[in-house]
Amino acid sequence: MTAIPARARDANPWRSTPVRVLKVLFLIGLLIFIPPLIDNPYITRIFISAVMLGVMAAIFDLMIGYAGLINFGYAGFLAVGAYTSALGTFHFQVSPWAGLLTGGLATALIGLATGVISLRLRGLYVALLTFFVGESIRFALSNSPEFTRGMLGLSVRPLPELLGFDFSRGNILAYYYLLLLLGGAIMLLLTWLVRSRFGLAFEAIREDQLATQSLGLNTTKYKLYNFTIASFLAGVMGAFYASYLGILSPSPEEFGVYRTVEILTITYVGGRGTLWGSIFAAFLLIGLQEYFRGLGPWRLVIYGSLLIFVMLFARRGLAGFKKYLW
């Protein structure tokens, strides 16, 4: 019998706990201080895009990477959060701050409903169903111009002043720090979740549903938890996106399949089942996109090729290179 020895503790001081803490603090420091130090709105916007898409991708990872559920209508779910918040303000004078919550709740409701009807299905069927749910949402938004202004675009009021902080559109640093707080809270929540008992249940479901049920777990229930929590967080991010962007339209690039693909690529490049990999991948991909902005469509060719490359040759994404970089 050839038993494989348990993994030896890594003796490399570069990976000892204090050094890890320092590395994390250093990265957080970079996130906090680079945008104000450079003080260039263009750079700040890149940081906002990267953090925002990174957090959205990490939420996506909670579904695909941990429970093996693919929400291929993800952008439609973001749209529910964004539009609930924006329409609440537009039609019913709900504060955009409350919109962060109502956006999340509305999306959680859609997620729960979609979950109930789809989660008894498997893999590809979930992808197909969520895809059409997402597209239905988008089509419905663009076909109700009297309420949503459709493709004309819905303008969203900026967040009102809170605790003396000014959130007018010119002050994008305020939006950036709000995003860091919001995104940071979401990332911590996700990390706690996947390390809790729920995380064990999610991973077991991803690996083998029948075996999981045979151990007494109601897999449908845990999949519903996963899907509803992810939808809530997606809705909150969608609502933030609406306030930050200032104008919404249900185009495929904004809330359709292209946005889903963009987020999905970030998740896969970051590495499924890693959560934080998505943040790094978002900076990498958004950075590449901006660097190659002059190349026009070529940057999307690079994007697609990267996804193909990851699927074929680097199946763990950036996480596969962790030992060289971290």
Binding site: R122, L124, A127, S136, V261, M311
Partner: protein
């Protein structure tokens, strides 16, 4: 909405004819997607981009070279057959050998990557302008209240012909039998000496050829441009789900049905709502009958 209009014989005939023509188009697009899904289990999200390449091939042959349109369609089909096989052998086959158990879901993600690359390469090479022809054949058939262009009738004819030949090929040719065996039980087929890799490559090639053929044939309705594949892929996905995943005859029936339903809804509602109806219908079917409208077997549930 006045429901009595729904049963008015003139409107009914008109709508049925338009619906069948539309359905034939969808059937043509969906057949290849359904075939690939049925045999390999792969949902090819890049199917619309193969359609797009077919449309460009058609444009090149008929407009740039000025050759007759049947040649264009043939070239589109053959070119996509070869391209599809290349794609399968270089990318999908590699993935299948690396990903193991979950390869089908991963293959779906891979085809998304293929979609993004092909679409943007087309944008770089050909720009955004629409390249089409006004019609392949001129003239209209007037028959009582029904007015149909000859072109649309030709599409109906070609679609039927292609459907029949596909059915005959799968049913009677030795390669077709091998393909069926491979789809029912890959391991058993392998022990019988059937080369699964080859079967998959050829199947993907045929599926791509069908997409290319559809792209070429429908160039007057969907002129070639980089994102032309979006609508076809959504419609064919819808048909494939309605008909039952991997059930080719089911997909074709579903396409006809969808065509008629859309023709009806187009008559009574603004065009944008058609898509909502289609998507809603698909969601409904996935909820109540995930194995599709025309299947007796149950989908494997969790």
């Amino acid at each position: 909405m006045d429901f009595s209009l729904l049963l008015d014989p003139y409107i009914l005939t008109e709508v049925l004819v338009q619906g069948f023509v539309r359905g034939a188009m969808y059937a043509l697009m969906a057949a290849g997607l359904s075939l690939i899904f049925g045999i390999m289990g792969v949902k090819n999200f890049g199917h619309g981009e193969l359609f797009m390449l077919g449309a460009y091939a058609m444009f090149f042959v008929t407009v740039v070279l000025g050759w007759p349109w049947p040649v264009g369609i043939a070239v589109a089909a053959v070119a996509l057959f070869i391209f599809g096989m290349l794609l399968e052998r270089t990318l999908i086959d590699t993935l299948r050998r690396k990903a193991g158990r979950d390869w089908v879901l991963d293959a779906f993600i891979l085809t998304i990557g293929i979609l993004v690359v092909l679409q943007n390469l087309a944008l770089i090479l050909f720009g955004t302008s629409r390249r089409g022809v006004t019609s392949l054949i001129d003239g209209v058939l007037v028959w009582g209240p029904v007015i149909v262009s000859y072109e649309r009738l030709m599409i109906l004819g070609v679609a039927s012909l292609v459907g029949l030949s596909l059915w005959a090929f799968i049913r009677f040719s030795s390669l077709g039998k091998a393909i069926r065996a491979a789809s029912q039980n890959p391991e058993a087929a392998q022990t019988l000496g059937i080369d699964i890799r080859l079967i998959y490559t050829v199947t993907f090639g045929i599926g791509a050829a069908l997409a290319g053929l559809a792209g070429g044939l429908l160039i007057s309705i969907y002129p070639a441009h980089p994102t032309v594949g979006f609508e076809p892929v959504i419609k064919s996905l819808a048909c494939v789900i309605l008909g039952g995943l991997g059930n080719v005859p089911g997909a074709i029936l579903a396409a006809l049905l969808l065509g008629v339903i859309e023709a009806y809804s187009a008559f009574f509602m603004s065009a944008g709502w058609q898509n909502v109806i289609t998507a809603g219908l698909v969601v409904l079917i996935l909820i109540v009958r995930p194995s599709g409208l025309f299947s007796s077997s149950k989908v494997e549930r969790a």
